[in-house]
């Protein structure tokens, strides 16, 4: 691991100042489960890190308000996963956290750092022996000609097909979440839908955050639709694995069982958290049945491009959406 300088400031303003002082390659450190891991692998090598893991300002969680749920960026995944309001009224949010990583990692990892986790593409993590446009722009993509079983089928480019590996952002994007950030140029609010880039010809640019911008909190507008929701995650093993395909779904039904609101987002199959708006539109105004759910799943995957070994993900994701809509429908308040 490359040497680095460490600072643990006591407040958000001090953390922002420290990061600016340390220069553009310095990084915030939260739970470290992405950053420190990749530093050990030599994939990340910041000259300095600013520890924000225990800043009290980032720890605040408030799910009691009438208009929005608020999650401080430093709140731990394990704690948010057991928030009683989430368990009752937003099962998709609670499940997206509970089904991620392990309890040890969830105790360490923050809900802010989670949004910015990096891909698990083995060639990216494998370092120098492998060409990787994301790690080293212009070097090529080993996955395109290599083993791409875990890779994306939506939002890919000729430069990169790496899957966005996280779960929480998938559930959040379906509920129109936003993030409040503070940086050298002041405060702003970014829709979660605008936080991540597709790889295009610049896979090294993953987010729209500017250097030195700190995520303060995530906010989710309250909605009754989320009562009828789930985060359905299909993995190679039953627990403790990244998604092969996942679907965050929520539906609201009227007294006749007709869908009045639908939310669908996909994980494990796309290069970024993936909202399937066209699929949602196929459901609204229709009764929720196996057939309409399957049709929504097919609409969600309509633009999918299979690679060499990941073609199975298309049908898997269609079925994941279908199943997830059934589960959401069973929970929906009529």
């Amino acid at each position: 691991m490359r040497p680095f300088a460490y600072a643990a400031p006591a407040s958000v303003p001090e953390a922002l100042d420290a990061l600016v002082a340390a220069g553009p390659d310095a990084r915030f450190l939260a739970g470290g489960t992405t950053l420190y891991d990749l530093m050990k692998l030599g994939v990340e090598a910041p000259p300095a890190v600013v520890d924000v893991h225990r800043l009290p300002e980032l720890a605040v969680v408030d799910t009691a308000g009438p208009d929005e749920l608020v999650f401080g960026a430093g709140a731990r995944m394990a704690d948010v996963a057991e928030d009683p309001v989430l368990l009752r009224d937003y099962p998709m949010l609670a499940e997206s956290l509970a089904k991620a990583a392990s309890q040890q990692l969830r105790t360490m990892a923050t809900v802010g750092g989670n949004l910015l986790q990096r891909t698990r593409c083995s060639y990216f993590r494998g370092g120098a022996p492998f060409a990787c446009n994301k790690r080293e722009p212009g070097s090529g993509c080993s996955a395109l000609e290599g083993i791409d079983r875990a890779h994306a089928v939506l939002g890919t480019s000729d430069s990169c097909i790496a899957t966005y590996a996280g779960d929480w952002a998938v559930a959040l994007i379906a509920l129109d979440a936003v993030v409040d950030v503070l940086g050298p140029d002041g405060a702003r609010t970014v829709a979660l839908a605008d936080l991540h880039h597709e790889p295009g010809s610049h896979p090294e640019r993953e987010t729209t955050l500017a250097a030195g911008e700190l995520i303060l909190r995530i906010r989710v507008p309250t909605t009754r639709t989320a009562r009828g929701s789930t985060y359905h995650k299909i993995r190679d093993r039953e627990s403790y694995a990244f998604a092969l395909a996942s679907a965050a779904t929520a539906v609201a039904l009227d007294a006749d069982g007709v869908v009045t609101d639908a939310r669908i987002a996909l994980g494990g199959v796309a290069t970024r958290p993936w909202r399937a708006a066209a699929a949602e539109r196929t459901l609204v105004g229709a009764p929720l049945t196996v057939d309409t759910a399957r049709r929504a799943g097919e609409a969600a995957l309509a633009g999918a491009r299979p690679g060499r070994h990941n073609g199975f993900k298309i049908e898997l994701a269609v079925r994941t959406v279908t199943d997830a809509l059934r589960i959401a429908g069973e929970r929906a308040v009529q």
């Binding site: 691991m1 040497p3 450190l29 893991h53 392990s102 990692l105 105790t107």
Partner: protein, 178 residues
Amino acid sequence: MATPVRTDETARTTAPSPPFSTTVHVGFRVNDEDVELDLDPRESLLDVLRERLELTGTKKGCDHGHCGACTVHVDGRRVVSCLTPAVQAQGTAVTTIEGVAGPGGELHPVQQAFVDHDALQCGYCTPGQVMSGIACIDEGHAGDDAQAREYLSGNLCRCGAYPGIVAAVRAVADRSEG
């Protein structure tokens, strides 16, 4: 198996200015004893426990958060020590497998249950399993077999002693409820 700290790279052209430092003085408690150390921020809690404090009960399996062999408690909550930068232990209380036995040296109930339920073969994963099992019960996540399996899934066992591990943790959980 310590992560090699490459001293040839430590030469920096300029010393970092405050609040940054490349040697960090850190104080924390380990198994009820105060510890003070000057740390290179690269050092993991796992390496500090094993290599500097000679607490080798905590094991290194993968060094990347995958296997759970390095599980310890920080302020009573389980973490993987391989992905915990040791500087983040500042001001905390760390408990390792060496710290769970009773005052007279009697095994912790979860340790005893591992013996009683044949919950190990080679034993390499066992310190991590026990630390995870204790926390799992404290969290209230060992209520039934399915829940215990789910909340212990961060601890892999190459020998496949899983049925015994789940039985051991469940037995202690049932007893502490009743």
